[in-house]
């Protein structure tokens, strides 16, 4: 049900991200979602890629530091208020979102958000009861 996210440590120097994206391009790995978090000294790139296994092996081989984390891709209506509704639902149920970013989703009228939350069982049950759809790896064409 969840999808795999790859996080990569980025040293604070020019060209780091260019190197990583080039490596993935050379392996034919598609980056479907990307979010960058940064501090004054270093950064962190979180990615959803078409082939997590291939991506991780090429990055590890390159000497990068990675972490693989299960996250959820949640479908929201592509319209004003679509995300607000989902977040209100989570807030009403006291579910913390640790971070979130959007994912390319090719279905018209629909958008997709990647979420990392702390209380997974509660999250799943709240989404289930409220008929919010979680999108899986297969549907997103991810390996």
């Amino acid at each position: 049900m969840n999808i795999l996210q790859i996080s990569v440590f980025l040293e604070n120097r020019a060209g780091q991200l260019a190197e990583i994206t080039k490596l993935l391009a050379d392996e034919g790995v598609d980056i479907r979602a990307l979010s960058i978090a940064e501090t004054a000294d270093y950064g962190l790139a979180r990615m959803i890629v078409s082939d997590a296994g291939k991506a991780s092996s090429v990055l590890l081989h390159h000497g990068d530091i990675l972490s693989m984390t299960p996250v959820y891709a949640v479908e929201v209506p592509d319209q004003p208020g679509g995300l607000a509704e989902l977040l209100k639902l989570l807030a009403d149920n006291n579910i913390d979102v640790e971070y979130m970013y959007s994912l390319f989703f090719h279905e018209k009228g629909k958008a997709c958000m990647v979420l990392r939350i702390s209380n997974e069982p509660l999250f799943l049950s709240v989404l289930g009861t409220n008929r919010v759809r979680i999108v899986g790896m297969e549907e997103l064409g991810l390996k």
């Binding site: 996210q5 440590f9 980025l10 040293e11 270093y42 990068d64 530091i65 990675l66 640790e98």
Partner: protein, 433 residues
């Protein structure tokens, strides 16, 4: 007009001084032999007995002591008096985290404070002076040493300790401090603050006694010009008591070593051979008067030159140059001794790779201290908060080990250069020597 605190000792003719040293040395060797099994074993290993030491000429027969011995003998192994006779400890950091603990009897405190009093008087101090001590107080010897010396001279003593510059300046102006004691980098910082605030005319300072870290002649000129005072160097180390082992006189061409308490030698740090007077080498001290913690032939690791040229101040005690470097990798950062091996220990304990780089610089007269640490898989997470937590834990562990704060910078794995297998651990951008 030169001033002395103990004129009969400070200007004692050399021959007489040497007689005094001989007499004290013989007594001290016997005291250590009888009371310090650790050193006695070292002597026995070298086949030396107290009978072999008949004068200073025999000093070279005695084994050396080093920081490693202090660590091995921690805490009581080099103690030569019952604890009941001791009244104080002071401490400094050791090479691998174990601190160096030095013990003092009241006699030891008195001779240490006498040394500091000599330094204050040499800097022009009298009982009319207000001595402003901005060295740290506590385990660090800077504050307590100069504080005690100031009392002995009868000066009004302001135990300011370090930090809180606004308060320092307020007391300096309101109470008319005349002699400032602190690290040279803090003196420079204070000088700058005084200059910026335009309050030089409200400051009554006439002299400063600065030590606990290396400082260049340029830095002296800068402080003297900014404050319009004379800036005197003072030298010492916790192992031999603290500041005051040597101090500068009005001539400002080296520091007189208090030879009635300490015998100085210069050795080749590699061969350990004693070098003739005037050679550049590692300074070695033998404490001939201390009771509780009498180190014989202690290797300071400071590189300098000794000179017996006649001094215009009238003092007869040998002069040491400003330290010109170290024969080990110890750094002095903000007055605190830091060994790269301590950092290595913390990194290993915290699960980081021992590949790191220390970058020390001096910005606005304050030492900056940054440690580049390679990120590793176990520390990495998709959450910045978690990485931050690990980083904070590392910073706290480093602070606990070193006693000062370091900034940690996480870098990519294997990004710290390893040149021909030997990594460059320290980049010191300060111009100290």
């Amino acid at each position: 007009m030169p001033n002395y605190y103990q004129p009969e000792i400070e200007t004692m003719p050399y021959e007489q001084l040497r007689e005094l040293q001989n007499e004290k040395l013989l007594k001290q060797v016997r005291h250590v032999w009888d009371n310090v099994p650790y050193y006695r074993a070292k002597m026995e290993a070298k086949g030396v007995t107290p009978e072999d030491i008949q004068s200073i000429d025999d000093l070279h027969k005695l084994p050396f002591l080093s920081k490693a011995d202090l660590r091995d003998a921690y805490p009581y192994g080099l103690l030569a008096k019952p604890l009941g006779d001791c009244v104080r400890i002071q401490s400094t950091s050791g090479t691998t985290g174990k601190r160096v603990v030095a013990f003092y009897t009241q006699h030891d405190i008195d001779l240490w404070e006498d040394c500091c009093a000599r330094a204050i008087v040499a800097a022009g101090g009298t009982n009319e002076d207000v001595v402003h001590v901005s060295y740290g107080y506590g385990l660090f010897t800077g504050g307590p040493g100069l504080n005690g010396g100031s009392h002995k001279v009868g000066c009004l003593t302001l135990p300011m300790s370090s930090g809180n510059t606004d308060r320092q300046l307020q007391f300096m102006t309101d109470l008319g401090s005349t002699i400032l004691c602190c690290t040279p980098s803090y003196a420079q910082y204070l000088a700058e603050s005084i200059y910026e605030k335009g309050i030089r005319d409200q400051i009554k300072l006439k002299a400063g006694i600065f030590g606990a870290e290396a400082w260049s002649e340029d830095m002296r000129q800068d402080i003297q010009n900014k404050l319009g005072i004379k800036a005197y160097d003072i030298y010492g180390l916790t192992e031999t008591s603290g500041p005051g082992v040597a101090f500068e006189c009005c001539e400002q061409t080296g520091m007189h070593i208090n030879e009635d308490h300490f015998i100085a030698e210069i050795i080749d740090p590699d061969t350990e051979e004693v070098l003739p007077l005037g050679s550049k080498g590692e300074l070695v001290f033998t404490a001939i008067d201390k009771e509780a913690f009498p180190l014989l032939r202690y290797r300071t690791r400071d590189i300098c030159v000794l000179s017996r040229e006649k001094c215009s101040c009238g003092r007869t005690h040998v002069k040491m140059s400003k330290p010109m470097g170290r024969s080990d990798d110890m750094l002095i950062i903000r007055g605190v001794n830091v060994f790269p091996s301590q950092i290595e220990t913390v990194l290993m304990q915290q699960g980081y790779p021992a590949n790191y780089q220390i970058i020390v610089d001096r910005v606005n007269n304050t030492d900056t201290f940054e440690i580049m640490v390679e990120m590793m898989p176990a520390m990495f997470s998709d959450s910045l908060a978690k990485i931050n937590e690990a980083e904070k834990a590392l910073v706290a562990a480093l602070k606990a080990m070193l006693g000062i704060s370091a900034k940690v910078r996480l870098v990519a794995p294997k990004s710290i250069t390893r040149s021909e297998g030997k990594a460059v651990r320290v980049i010191d951008k300060r111009k100290l020597y």
